[in-house]
């Protein structure tokens, strides 16, 4: 210790554990082996807890009975229950209709909120109240209010729609409030210098928004947007409270007819099959976009 420091080890004596460098040496193979063993151990422990629990046999029969799952999946109207698989089709249709309408309505709201013209002032206030209101009220209440309230008004046409239509309307009203905030964040994330560049080239305000600001804004918020849509896919199940035979409602009818909850497991699996591809698709979109920009590939 020539310099008389704290008396600590001099460089060269760091490697005192004798284990060798962490993570790196031994290559990926050692890391892979460790992660495999760890995964198997954790899974085995979870399965053991499930199987050895005192009520395991009962739970397995109530929630995971293969025969019941199959019956719930294909349905049997003569016995008083519907196919959960078929009912999912209603969820999918509600989801697609709602998603398209949300993307449009939410964008309009976001643009109104970000407008600066004094003429737009009342609309800015309205859109702010709208977002505050629908983000604050639970979706279930919105569905109930619209699903039971609008038909009770006995208006021509408006009050004579299918239950799913009211469900979609409620989903659109509620989710547009959230998604408009996502859009707003995206629009704000585009730097003002991009607007200056576009306007300096003689592009109108509308053209600047359409070709320069919006594409970048949407690109920046694709992950949160798709995240909201994954959650929208699941929330279509709430429309079941209005009596629409969607997957969750069909599962409930099965369980209260046959007294077995395996139908819910079927519904859960179906929802997973619906949402996981969307999640992977999201990853792909983000990846592709990033790679394309970094690699400077052909358009």
């Amino acid at each position: 210790m020539i310099l008389g420091g704290g008396g600590g080890p001099i460089p060269g004596s760091f490697e005192t554990t004798g284990r060798g460098p962490r993570l790196l040496s031994g290559g990926g193979r050692r890391a892979a082996a460790i992660s495999t063993v760890s995964t198997v151990a954790v899974l085995a422990a979870l399965v053991a807890v499930f199987l050895l629990a005192p009520g395991s046999a009962q739970v397995r029969h109530t929630f995971f009975s293969p025969a019941n799952m199959w019956q719930a999946f294909i349905g049997n109207p003569k016995k008083g229950y519907y196919s959960v698989g078929e009912a999912l089709w209603l969820n999918i249709r509600m989801f697609i209709a709602a998603e398209i309408l949300i993307l449009i309505l939410a964008l309009v709201i976001a643009l109104v909120r970000l407008s600066t013209s004094p003429v737009m002032f009342p609309f800015r206030v309205l859109s702010m109240i709208y977002v505050d209101f629908f983000r604050g009220v639970p979706l279930l209440l919105v569905i109930l209010a619209i699903g039971f309230g609008v038909p009770a008004l006995r208006l021509p046409v408006v009050s004579a729609q299918a239950v799913a239509v009211y469900g979609v309307a409620a989903l659109v009203l509620s989710y547009s409030a959230y998604v408009s905030e996502v859009y707003r964040a995206g629009l704000n994330s585009v730097h003002q210098s991009q607007v200056a560049a576009a306007r300096s080239l003689g592009l109108s305000q509308a053209a600047t928004l359409r070709y320069v600001v919006l594409p970048q804004a949407v690109r920046n918020v694709v992950p949160p947007l798709l995240n909201d849509f994954i959650s929208l896919q699941k929330d279509t199940a709430l429309v079941g409270v209005l009596g629409a035979i969607e997957a969750n409602e069909a599962a409930q009818i099965y369980s209260s007819t046959v007294f077995n909850y395996s139908s819910y497991t079927v519904a859960a699996i179906l929802f997973l099959l619906l949402t996981i591809p969307l999640a992977r698709f999201t990853d792909r979109v983000i990846d592709r976009d990033r790679r394309r920009r970094l690699a400077g590939a052909q358009p």
């Binding site: 991009q194 560049a197 080239l201 592009l203 970048q216 970094l294 358009p299």
Partner: protein, 255 residues
């Protein structure tokens, strides 16, 4: 090379006084950035604006392009005031191209799309024709092989040249350039000057300014302190502040 022609519509006279700035004032909040600028630029003239960072060079250029609303004074192009309330800024901008300090290329578009967007959407040129013109310009500035690249993939100098080409594609009569640095870009600007383009260039490259400018304006604290041909301003500056500024530049080895 010849100066790019004006777009369709009224074509301003290609001679006489191109730009006239009178008593221009601009504040950001309580900070007055421009404190009464008077400047006259003749057609085909090249003016370099020099001065320390924060002296108001960039703001002056942005005001000329109507990107910043002004607080007082007036700006005229070929005798027509453009700072009036009834003037359509989009029309004015068709005559004035600007290249920003940070280039501001559109990151989500290829080089070619960056250049053709405005001609197609604002000048009403067909896409095919706009692409043909853009390729010709890219070829002239040695960038044709980068036409399908995204801006992220280009070097700073290449990005600046693309930004110049993007502005030129609108066939402006006047070019405003904010902070040009890379050597290749300087060559491009020399070529534009030789072609008779009227230019206002903010720069820190004194050698370049001396080389290319018809007149050099020294700005400090939002005012033009000295306005003289480079042969005079760089060798026999009248104002003490100009002398101090140039001395610092010389000491830094940049002249």
């Amino acid at each position: 090379m010849t100066a790019p022609e004006a777009g369709p519509g009224a074509r301003p006279p290609a001679e006489g006084e191109a730009i006239r700035i009178e008593g221009l004032r601009k504040s950001f909040g309580a900070h007055e950035v421009l404190r009464g600028i008077d400047l006259s630029v003749a057609t085909h003239e090249v003016i370099c604006l020099i001065g320390a960072s924060g002296s108001g060079k960039s703001t002056l250029l942005r005001c000329l392009n109507l990107l910043e609303p002004i607080d007082a004074g007036r700006i005229s192009l070929w005798g027509q005031e453009i700072t009036g309330a009834e003037v359509d800024p989009n029309l004015v901008r068709k005559y004035i191209g600007i290249v920003f300090q940070s280039f501001n290329l559109f990151p989500h578009m290829t080089v070619l799309r960056n250049i053709t967007l405005a001609p197609v959407k604002a000048r009403g040129v067909s896409r095919a024709q706009a692409e043909q013109e853009a390729r010709a310009l890219l070829d002239r500035f040695g960038l044709l092989d980068r036409q399908s690249d995204y801006p992220d993939r280009l070097s700073g100098g290449q990005q600046q040249r693309v930004a110049i080409v993007r502005a030129l594609a609108m066939r402006p009569q006047i070019m405003l350039l904010d902070e040009v640095t890379s050597a290749l870009v300087l060559d491009v600007i020399r070529e534009l000057a030789a072609g008779g383009m009227t230019m206002l260039i903010a720069t820190h490259e004194m050698g370049f300014a001396r080389d290319i400018a018809n007149r050099v304006c020294f700005l400090a604290e939002g005012a033009i302190i000295e306005d003289a041909p480079p042969s005079v301003l760089f060798t026999d500056p009248k104002d003490e502040r100009t002398r101090r500024f140039l001395r610092r530049i010389v000491d830094a080895g940049r002249l």
